[in-house]
Symmetry: C2
DNA sequence: TCTATAAATGTAAGCGGTTAGATTTTTATC
DNA sequence: GATAAAAATCTAACCGCTTACATTTATAGA
């Protein structure tokens, strides 16, 4: 690989001039700049990012932490979609994406150590339990950090309108005449679950159906558990509608209902959440709350990069809207 | 951030000694080594990967190219699952994963330039059209490169048993009594499609049902197109079975069949491919060919890293087996 | 033509590590 | 106690780039 030294030698100038010419500084005579740029191209010159980063203290790369308690990572469709959008946005802004892990060349280190080691300009935390002390440390110590669907005063928090989502859900069901509603929500220690439950309960109160609603703790994107819970519900008597924590769970539940001869939506209505592809592919297609994963990824990335480039490291919250997708299950 | 200079000063030794101590060289007295390691820890020292890479010419990072013609990226579940496994394996071996793009800090560059710029130790190409001259250049010029489901003499090619997969498919259908079979395959310019088609046709010949089989070009993971094609098939008369290019397409096809009152598998049997989660979640559950994404990711990553660490840059092919998953659609 | 000023270029240090080879210290041997 | 060999440590250069500051060259004004 040619270096700026090679170019400098060939052109009979100093490396300073080469560096400046290639970086488009305006204190290089136009003619020499052109000459050097052409020469660099000729020689197949490509800068070395390590050297550049070392000298400028800027890495042009972002770390992504995507580690839930169950290690599902990219297997979680919603987050795979979000990461995809993050990756595209970052790339458009000239940054690249690297996955954060606890393992480095030889040993196991904390996320914070990893970030310091790689010198990421910023970090995005997605689908990760921020109560993990390791993650907490990261959020508290790193300057430029953004979270998805979390709340932390030190981070740019891009959140889906979770309460609103449940409000929409409940109003939709209520308007269709479903009043006895069971909500199979996600894990209780999860921020999103808490928000959605709060939204659900508040709306239920408002609609005066609070006594007809039930809550069962399930697990996000775990159709098997949703299946089992649904089975119990069938045994104990069906409500008017079942709201699942997400589309995968709703699919698992639907499977169970069908297998037990329960007609959807005649015998019971169901709803999912997320609006990922599967919602429209199963039959009957799911009524669900769609989260705009492209938008989420874009907003979180743009905001993080803006904050990096403007040296603003204060945290704030952005809420993104969700939309109702009406399918055949309600 | 503390540097080895800080440590050296505090400990009254040279940076050489610090560097050696922290890297566990055995020409440092045990007592000083311990002292320095403790001190480093005390001072919260974390090496700087840029400096380290610059000096050692090793980046401990891999690039991943995941760009299909339609830019679906991580939205493609099969590949999201594979990338997830790659990421975990890489991390276990002390490497990290960065997405390759055509955009760098300021301008648009070729993949090769990107790789040279970042100094990846190796590159993994997944779900990417290697006929793209840009990709071709990459494969030809980079030393340590691995592909998934591609063939190139310069790369470690980890391929699924595509021909075998279709053989299993066809035997399964044949044994169940289905003989008039329509195969809605993926894009013809795709290596995987070519392999599978070849496997299909050869087996059909062998089973002596070649004249009863039909082939229609569809598009991978595009349920809408599968839906439309299925509709036409219904109009033109159903075969005994339809084989789709993948589970998403099969889901789209199934949706169409159901909507038109066609009973599966009574009126027509269908099969998917990949064995991703959706296959088991829809009703009836899909009979499909399962690809072990964990294994694929693991094998491709381990092989690439081995080749990097042993300085072996020759290409070879590894075929990984697929398995039949029998669902309710056959 | 001679300055003063602006423009262009160069010198050298620094970013944070590694490492060949030199030097010093320790240990073993007689 | 002197000496050779081994062990421990240090000096200094290097990886490839950036940049503050110094120096040279060009330009304009008197």
């Amino acid at each position: 690989m040619a270096t700026i030294y090679d170019i400098a030698k060939r052109a009979n100038v100093s490396t300073t001039t080469v560096s400046r010419a290639l970086n488009n500084h305006n204190d290089v005579k136009l003619s020499t700049r052109k000459r050097l740029v052409r020469l660099a191209e000729e020689m197949g010159y490509q800068p070395n990012s390590k050297a550049k980063s070392l000298a400028t203290r800027k890495s042009w790369s972002l770390g992504v932490l995507l580690i839930d308690d169950h290690d599902s990572g990219l297997n979680h469709t919603l987050f795979a979609n979000i990461i995809d959008s993050i990756s595209k946005t970052a790339s458009r802004r000239g940054y690249e994406l690297t996955f954060l892990s606890k393992t480095l060349a030889d040993s196991t280190v904390s996320y914070l150590q990893h970030v310091n080691y790689r010198g990421f300009d910023g970090v995005i935390i997605a689908n990760t339990n921020i109560n993990d002390p390791n993650v907490k440390e990261l959020i508290e110590k790193v300057n430029y950090i953004a979270c998805i669907d979390q709340i932390h005063s030190n981070a740019i928090c891009v959140n889906s309108q979770n309460e609103e989502g449940m409000k929409i859900t409940l109003y939709h069901l209520f308007n269709k005449g479903y009043k006895r509603i069971t909500y199979i929500h996600g894990q209780l220690n999860n921020y999103v679950t808490q928000e959605r439950l709060a939204g659900f309960k508040e709306t239920a109160k408002h609609l005066n159906i609070e006594n007809e609603c039930k809550y069962i703790e399930g697990k996000y994107t775990c159709p098997e558990i949703a299946y089992d819970i649904t089975k119990k519900i069938i045994e104990n008597g069906l409500p008017d509608a079942i709201v699942y924590s997400d589309d995968y769970c709703a699919s698992g539940g639907l499977k169970c209902l069908k297998e037990h001869g329960v007609k959807v939506p005649e015998d019971v209505a169901i709803m999912g959440y997320d609006g990922v592809e599967i919602a429209s592919l199963i039959t009957p297609s799911l009524t669900t709350i769609h989260q705009d994963t492209d938008k989420i990824g874009e907003v979180v990335t743009e905001n993080l990069i803006d904050s990096i480039e403007n040296n603003r490291s204060n945290g704030y919250i952005i809420e993104l809207p969700v939309t109702l997708v009406i399918g055949e299950t309600t």
